[in-house]
């Protein structure tokens, strides 16, 4: 064996190299790998959080949708009810209007009839007087028989 001062030189070289590797290679790389690990972990956590958020949002959206649906149904029901009401109101109005018109027509008819009757009454008195004059062969004095004529007209 030839062990000599090379051994010492190599020990010094080895220890120096160890120091350098630790400083130049190991520490930066280790920091880098740790940083990357952290980044990946953070990324995964963020992804999880995103997924969770998405779930929450979906749930919320579903709730909103349900609410909107029920609201729509309610509005629809209200509208239907209001529509029915309007129809009912319209019907009622139409009926009362019809009745009113009917009554007005009836009143007018009656008025007309009354007026015709009044006219007729006037005429009947004259006709009766004339007819009676003819029958009696003389002129009937309307004034003299006013009570009679009036009674006659009243009978019509």
């Amino acid at each position: 064996m030839n062990i000599n001062v090379t051994l010492i030189a190599q020990i010094i070289a080895f220890v120096t190299l160890l120091w350098f590797v630790n400083r130049v290679l190991w520490n930066p790389m280790n920091d880098l790998l740790a940083a990357r690990q952290k980044r990946i972990a953070d990324g995964l956590a963020a992804a999880d959080k995103g997924k969770h958020d998405l779930e929450l949002a979906e749930k919320r959206a579903k709730e909103h949708l349900m609410e909107a649906k029920s609201q729509a149904a309610e509005i629809l029901a209200q509208a239907e009810k209001r529509g029915n009401e309007i129809v009912e109101e319209a019907k009622e109005k139409a009926r009362t209007e019809g009745e009113r018109q009917l009554a007005a027509a009836k009143a007018e008819i009656e008025q007309e009839a009354n007026r015709a009757r009044e006219q007729l009454r006037g005429k009947v008195a004259a006709v009766a007087a004339a007819g009676a004059g003819r029958i009696l062969g003389r002129e009937v004095d309307e004034k003299a028989h006013a009570d009679l004529l009036k009674d006659l007209v009243g009978q019509i």
């Binding site: 062990i3 001062v5 090379t6 051994l7 030189a9 080895f14 190299l17 590797v21 290679l25 790389m29």
Partner: protein, 280 residues
């Protein structure tokens, strides 16, 4: 490459390749280290260059790290770092910020030094002798026991340090006294524990050294097939054989160097994990 076909040439070729570029207290004839104060310049040079390569590449990459989508090379580095920290997490109890960078350094550095083995055995020595006039060059730092022992002794120092730190001096001593056979075999226990502790750095260093040394030797032998036996028409047979064998060993060795780097790393983690556990 030695052109002569006699056995001496072959031995010389291998010997030449296994001789470090020695400065200081070296044998002037064999160029081997003669005393402690000899420095294997090639070992230090290549290991330090590879270390600098690691630092420069990391620093350049570190300047524009992408948090989001890393590019090709950063991806590759992240893969290695993930792999190493995965090993540490699986094996090491608790938390110690030095373990993972240590494991990473060992894995990458050892792998890079081992990788020098896959460069054609004669390429760099030829360049060195041809261009720079350097006669001896052993390019694979891990085929030098000094390198592997340097790493394993550093790890051993850490093992002892953490044993003292975690178990305390008394706890560590108790491990030597009462492990593995209980309190009635204290002398045996001491011997066993000392052997066990010393075996850790030795086995780490020798395993890596042995594997890479043997691998290098096989590459040299394969290189010799074409070099020493290719005379005339024989080259038609030997040269293709050398190419095929070299490729095969290259592919196999690619697994070996990775495996050895991995083993060194894992055993380092395991030994340090043992130092960190109270109950041995």
């Amino acid at each position: 490459m030695s052109g002569s076909s006699d056995g001496g040439g072959t031995v010389a070729y291998i010997q030449h390749h296994l001789t470090n570029l020695c400065v200081g207290d070296c044998d002037p004839v064999t160029h081997k280290a003669a005393g402690f104060w000899a420095l294997h310049l090639d070992t230090v040079f290549f290991s330090v260059m590879l270390g600098i390569l690691m630092i420069v590449v990391s620093a350049r990459m570190g300047r524009n790290l992408a948090t989001g989508t890393p590019g090709g090379f950063q991806n590759f580095v992240e893969m290695i770092i993930d792999f190493v920290s995965g090993q540490v997490k699986d094996t090491f109890p608790g938390h110690n910020p030095i373990i993972a960078p240590l494991a990473l350094t060992i894995f990458v550095w050892v792998w890079l030094m081992n990788f020098m083995d896959l460069i054609p055995v004669d390429l760099l020595p030829m360049i060195a002798s041809g261009v720079l006039g350097i006669e001896y060059l052993k390019v694979v730092p891990t085929t030098d026991l000094n390198t592997t022992l340097a790493m394993s002794l550093t790890v051993f120092a850490l093992i002892i340090y953490y044993n003292f730190k975690i178990k305390g001096a008394a706890g560590y001593l108790k491990m030597f006294l009462f492990h593995p056979f209980g309190k009635f075999f204290v002398p045996v226990n001491i011997v066993m524990s000392v052997i066990e502790e010393l075996a850790k750095p030795l086995s780490l260093a020798l395993r890596l050294f042995g594997n890479l040394f043997a691998g290098e030797l096989v590459f040299l032998l394969i290189a010799l097939i074409g070099g020493t036996m290719a005379v005339g028409l024989g080259a038609l047979i030997w040269f293709p054989l050398q190419v095929v064998l070299d490729l095969g060993w290259l592919i196999f060795h690619l697994l070996v160097i990775t495996l050895q780097a991995f083993i060194f790393m894992v055993l380092t983690i395991v030994y340090l994990a043992m130092a960190h556990t109270e109950d041995h």
